[in-house]
């Protein structure tokens, strides 16, 4: 193909967008809306996943050390635990600290009354163990239980399974929704583009009858589809980036909902922008070429 032909095809593709006036508008708005929806859900899912990980991250193993254990025993135990593969961090909380924490956590009304416990602290010294992956908690806890000088090992056995069940369900449902939504978006965008091209069926056939090769007809449609897809991605990308920056500022700097930790916008929005642009371009081109194909058999 000569370079002037390539130029001609690009020009022609761009002109076609204008020539088909509001049909192009219909395609672009379909792309825009679908990508907007996909963008919003990607952000939502990223955050839900983030929060789920946070919650899982709170899972810890509390190793209650025998009251009778000596300092050396404790150090030995520490080293034993530390030697386990999947242990990420160990914190030592002595019984007085433990009581402080406990009293802090307990509801205010009862708190001062527990102060009475200070004299005869019923708590053990504790190693708080964090694993590298929350899912490894059970295994690690099992290993630790084998060691000496331990009173009890406690990691919320009953809660932890349900917690993982919930976070996993949230992840699976979220992923399914986003994937489903993406395919839906793709289908609908391709569908819309197809409709605008079917309306040009006769024109395509005339071009063939006048001696155009399939490639000659296809190229402008390629450009057209690409540009429609990219045009459709502009608004969603702008909305996702600026909207999320705004929201993040609001939630973080204004300290509203400060206890919910949301994903910072910096890599996230740009990754999502890339995904949206990718989908737009891909589906635009694909929908366009797919639809032209069946009218080329003349």
């Amino acid at each position: 193909m000569k370079s002037r032909t390539l130029l001609r095809h690009s020009k022609e593709g761009l002109k076609n967008i204008g020539r088909n006036g509001w049909m192009s508008f219909a395609s672009v708005s379909a792309v825009t809306i679908m990508l907007m929806v996909v963008g919003i859900f990607l952000i939502l899912i990223a955050n839900i996943n983030h929060i789920a990980s946070d919650v899982e991250g709170d899972v810890e193993i509390r190793v209650h050390i025998d009251m009778t254990a000596s300092e050396e025993d404790k150090e030995g135990l520490y080293e034993q635990i530390d030697a386990i593969d999947n242990v990420a961090a160990i914190t030592y909380v002595d019984r007085d600290e433990g009581l402080d924490q406990f009293i802090e956590d307990v509801d205010e009304g009862s708190a001062e009354l527990f102060e009475s416990l200070r004299n005869e602290n019923p708590l053990n010294d504790v190693f708080v163990v964090e694993t590298k992956e929350p899912q490894l908690t059970e295994d690690v806890a099992g290993e630790i239980e084998q060691f000496a000088n331990i009173d009890t090992v406690d990691y919320g056995e009953d809660i932890i399974e349900q917690l993982f069940a919930v976070t996993n369900m949230i992840r699976i449902v979220g992923a399914a929704l986003v994937l489903g939504l993406m395919f839906t978006a793709m289908f609908l965008i391709a569908n819309t583009i197809k409709l605008t091209i079917v309306a040009r069926k006769n024109e395509i056939q005339i071009m063939k009858l006048v001696g155009a090769t399939n490639g000659f007809i296809r190229w402008p449609f390629f450009v057209e589809g690409l540009v429609l897809g990219l045009l459709g991605a502009i608004l969603p990308v702008a909305a996702v980036i600026s909207g999320y920056y705004y929201l993040y500022d609001l939630l973080v700097t204004e300290a509203i909902l400060s206890f919910v930790d949301i994903v910072p916008p910096n890599p996230l929005t740009f990754e999502i922008a890339a995904i949206l642009i990718g989908i737009g371009a891909l589906v635009g081109v694909w929908g366009s070429l797919m639809s032209v194909r069946k009218f080329l058999r003349v």
């Binding site: 193909m1 000569k2 002037r4 032909t5 001609r8 076609n16 020539r19 088909n20 024109e203 005339i206 071009m207 063939k208 009858l209 006048v210 001696g211 155009a212 090769t213 399939n214 000659f216 003349v298």
Partner: protein, 255 residues
């Protein structure tokens, strides 16, 4: 194989490669026992044998629905015959690869009975399209388009869109497009149906002139006056069959 050989030659050429199809043989159109039955059961063309040589000017006449357009559509493969063999310049159309069909079509200028203009392109763009597929440079296209627009007297309508033209003007755009790339063969289906007698004769002059310069012309027509005043070979269809094929024939469907 002849076909393969030809294609090789075509690809070897740089300029005007589309014309190679029609160099060498003297028999441009050759239909042997050709029958065309449409999907709805209508046999539009029934076992015809037609041979047209290089340089001829042929009228195709016959009553409405006789099969003239069907005959014409089979030459450039808008329709394929249900039986029989068609050779264009010696090439068996059954053996022509799909991707070479456009090359064939570039060698045949067609004036369609229903014009087949692209509604979203201007008159200029419509005509230029037939040169763009040949990847001609822009200035060549521009020059040629205005030349043919002048021939059909539509220079001042170059920027108009088909819907903004009268019936006869649309027909003339279709004629201009068919001629633009100097095809070795020009097939016109009722090219004067929407034209007044004077304009029709103007078009006839143009067709006769390009014929004199070597282009083979096949023209389906209902215009008795033209056929009788300017007699040439006449192939008459009736009910899908060729009923008459004579040099310097007359229209002969009198009231």
């Amino acid at each position: 194989m002849r076909v393969t050989l030809k294609i090789v030659t075509i690809q070897g050429m740089r300029e005007r490669k589309m014309h190679v199809f029609f160099e060498g043989s003297d028999r441009l159109i050759e239909m042997r026992d050709v029958t065309k039955t449409y999907g709805n059961g209508i046999t539009a063309v029934n076992n015809i044998n037609v041979f047209i040589d290089k340089g001829e000017f042929v009228y195709v006449v016959g009553p409405s629905g006789a099969g003239k357009s069907t005959f014409i559509k089979m030459t450039y493969l808008e329709e394929r015959p249900t039986a029989g063999k068609i050779y264009m310049n010696g090439t068996d159309l059954d053996e022509l690869k799909r991707k070479h069909i456009p090359l064939l079509r570039r060698n045949i200028g067609v004036v369609f009975q229903d014009f087949k203009l692209l509604p979203k392109l201007s008159v200029f763009e419509n005509i230029a399209f037939a040169l763009e597929v040949l990847e001609e440079p822009r200035h060549v296209i521009k020059k040629r388009v205005f030349e043919v627009l002048d021939l059909v007297r539509l220079k001042n309508k170059a920027r108009f869109y088909p819907q903004e033209l009268s019936g006869g003007e649309q027909q003339r755009v279709s004629i201009a497009r068919a001629m633009i790339n100097h095809p070795p063969i020009l097939i016109a289906d009722e090219p004067t149906g929407n034209l007044d007698p004077q304009t029709s004769w103007g078009i006839m002059d143009v067709l006769q002139e390009i014929n004199a310069r070597g282009t083979t012309v096949v023209m389906a027509t209902h215009n008795k006056e033209i056929v009788n005043v300017s007699p040439k070979r006449v192939i008459a269809f009736e009910g899908g069959r060729v009923t008459r094929d004579e040099q310097r024939g007359r229209y002969a469907y009198e009231k």
